[in-house]
Symmetry: C3
Subunit: 313 residues, 3 copies
């Protein structure tokens, strides 16, 4: 189903789009590729690699060593979103990861306040939850293509996307904040409760455990789990398809669906404050220190994070 | 499980019911059948064939060539609903199709305003969405037994029914209005968001694609997908079972469930206006003309409508 | 995954907990067991057997001959909940049944008013729905481990628990009140509509039929259906895992999830009144008498209750 012919309707001047993305230093990293006869363009941020095809922007997250959501990634996401929204030729964003093991691991717990500051320039409030909320309300359609682990604020990011598709073999989901004694602080509790219902939302948060893609689909955490080898074609094809329909339809559908099902900003603000209050307690710091001793916030240590948190003394 | 014995509790004088349905001209088409020892009665509207069995009315939709929702079908639905509601012996309505390929294809796009007018006499407002909303609030329990394609306003009709069961092999669902740049105008966006959740509702509408019964069940679009050969017995048995329990239980359950989960009439009015606004634009007309050139609104052309809309230039 | 080592963090003085539960007469039945090297304690109410392991209390329901929800079971549940809430060492409650065929059959229909009275001392209102609502809002995390039949008020009890896991082979769910002409009176209609969506909630209540665990999972009635032989280990392990994380996380997550998804007490009051109104009618009494003649409220007669209600004349 992958559409390989250039779209006539969206016969976008690719080169112009490309120059719109990235800071000056990033533009130097821009490259042009010929991919199966399609002209595509790439532009790099420090932690994002953006490629456009017609009206779709494919965004690869690359924040080694484990795609932590730290200040650099937040800053690049803010810049990218601002530029993409300002570009009339951009219609659909696909987020994927350059790291097969980690989509987004979670927030950098050593820099919780620093992480939030770059959001100020987009929303007027330093809050990751409001950054994600901004994306949910954007005229841009957002699709998360998930391979590897996506936990904590990573899960909250994909929950704020308009759709989520995951690789059956590799995707792992976790909203583990309650194992540290706190609520997910960037909208996760809001989205999970609305998507999964009370019982399953309580289970996944209170267990703070890892969930695979099959169960993620069954519970409604994601739209669908697909075999990894089909995922890329499926999502690309869907994104291109959506991008070709009239923009007016996308706008009105998002507006009306959001009016029913998007968590209110105020609820996200409340959760954010509750998270920060909790993260400031001695108990949180103690759990964090114990977890870090076991390998928390390391690439190797978090391969089996669900088990690690269950085994903490 | 099909109950073939006449119900003692609902020993309805069939012949009286029969005369209640249909206009004078239709009554001429009335026929009486002996079916497996059960006396059943049939009455025809121009586009509906109504058969009763106990307190259940089985309504077969027959609007050749492809069960488009045009003024005739709307008029007949309005008349039938009025008569069924006025008949104390009627408790459950089962809607099915006389066309194996199309349950209801969609609204006749060449007669959008004309379609709505017959609803005025039922609800005081010329709106298909309010016709469906009226049915959702009715004391009558409604079950959609779906074989073949049900798209656009057809999907909105079955979403307004109290329950939906579909044939695994043949049922195909589509809410394709956004491929024309508009929102579903008769409650579809409201129901889908509440049933499927934000992510899946956005996917099915923004993709405007065809979904089979298996995925329809997984997403919550329908109650269940069943093998086609079992569907008729399953639904008949369920309808007869429900119809035999006390009416007071049906009334109070519908009232309390609707209080939580039925989209408010006001939201349906808003969507209806947004749809009409969109349908009046030049862009909508252009997409419609392009689609009609490819076979839109023809029986043959719409067998694979999802693909057709994706392939439009 | 079953944690068999004593938890260091929750090194609870078991013996102290034990004395907190049960009335004086019950304490006599207390027994101490050594189970796989874990010291566990047991305390009996007339209809409940409570065993603690760390911060988890395992509650076995034993109200022969069929775990009807009668005044004794209600009284014991009220006492147990009060004592568990007052015990800072208790964090998670697991409810299971001592009867392989019945988890909780349903309310004792011959003692509807008497059943409700013991709730007064907990909530100030004589209402089973408010007892269950109280449990949903409790700081204690509640898990229902379901084997056998759970119908009527039994279903409403497990729906009010924070999570529900059921045995694939034996669990059977029914919300059959509408076959008596009444709404579920203790919150069932509220929970089912929010968890299953409008179509499936209407189906399960209006059909008043039995649903197995596989379909219960597919519809969202329960979190998950598991093979019976795995269920006990799975739930024990989950309960112990949850109980070891900081209490602050459990409290804030339950509070925020409840703010979105817990049915308001006022809606439960309305349903309760509607149920009582219905149960006072001649029609309800007639159905009840007819059902009792067929074996309703007997262990043997209710093995196939769904069929029995469908076969009533």
């Amino acid at each position: 189903m992958l559409c390989t012919k250039p779209s006539h309707r969206w016969n976008t001047p690719f080169i112009n789009i490309t120059f719109l993305y990235g800071t000056k230093s990033n533009i130097l990293k821009m490259s042009k590729e010929i991919n199966n006869g399609r002209e595509v363009n790439q532009v790099h941020f420090d932690t994002l690699k953006v490629r456009n095809e017609g009206a779709v922007l494919f965004v690869e997250i690359n924040a080694p060593p484990m795609n932590l959501m730290g200040p650099e990634l937040v800053r690049d996401l803010v810049s990218f979103i601002q530029q993409a929204e300002a570009d009339d030729a951009a219609q659909v964003l696909v987020f994927k990861s350059g790291d097969a093991d980690y989509f987004i691991s979670h927030v950098d717990v050593t820099r919780i306040k620093e992480n939030r500051e770059p959001v100020m320039k987009l929303t007027g409030e330093a809050s990751l939850g409001l950054l994600f909320h901004y994306l949910s309300k954007s005229r841009l359609v957002t699709i998360a293509q998930i391979e590897g682990r996506v936990r904590g604020v990573g899960s909250e990011f994909v929950l704020a996307c308009d759709m989520r598709f995951a690789a059956l073999e590799s995707a792992i989901f976790g909203q583990f904040e309650p194992s540290f004694g706190v609520i997910p602080g960037a909208g996760g509790a809001q989205h999970l409760t609305r998507l999964l219902g009370r019982g399953r939302a309580l289970e996944v948060m209170l267990s703070a455990d890892d969930y695979n893609a099959e169960l993620g689909e069954r519970y409604g955490w994601i739209n669908r789990a697909l075999p990894g080898r089909e995922l890329d074609d499926f999502v690309s094809s869907l994104a291109l398809r959506i991008s070709k329909f009239p923009a007016a339809g996308r706008a009105v559908v998002k507006e009306r669906v959001n009016a029913i099902a998007l968590p209110p900003a105020e609820d996200i603000r409340v959760d954010s404050k509750l998270f920060l209050d909790g993260a400031g307690t001695k108990e949180f710091q103690e759990v964090m220190q114990a977890a870090i001793k076991r390998g928390f916030q390391t690439r190797e240590g978090e391969l089996d994070l669900g088990r690690m948190m269950g085994d903490l003394p």
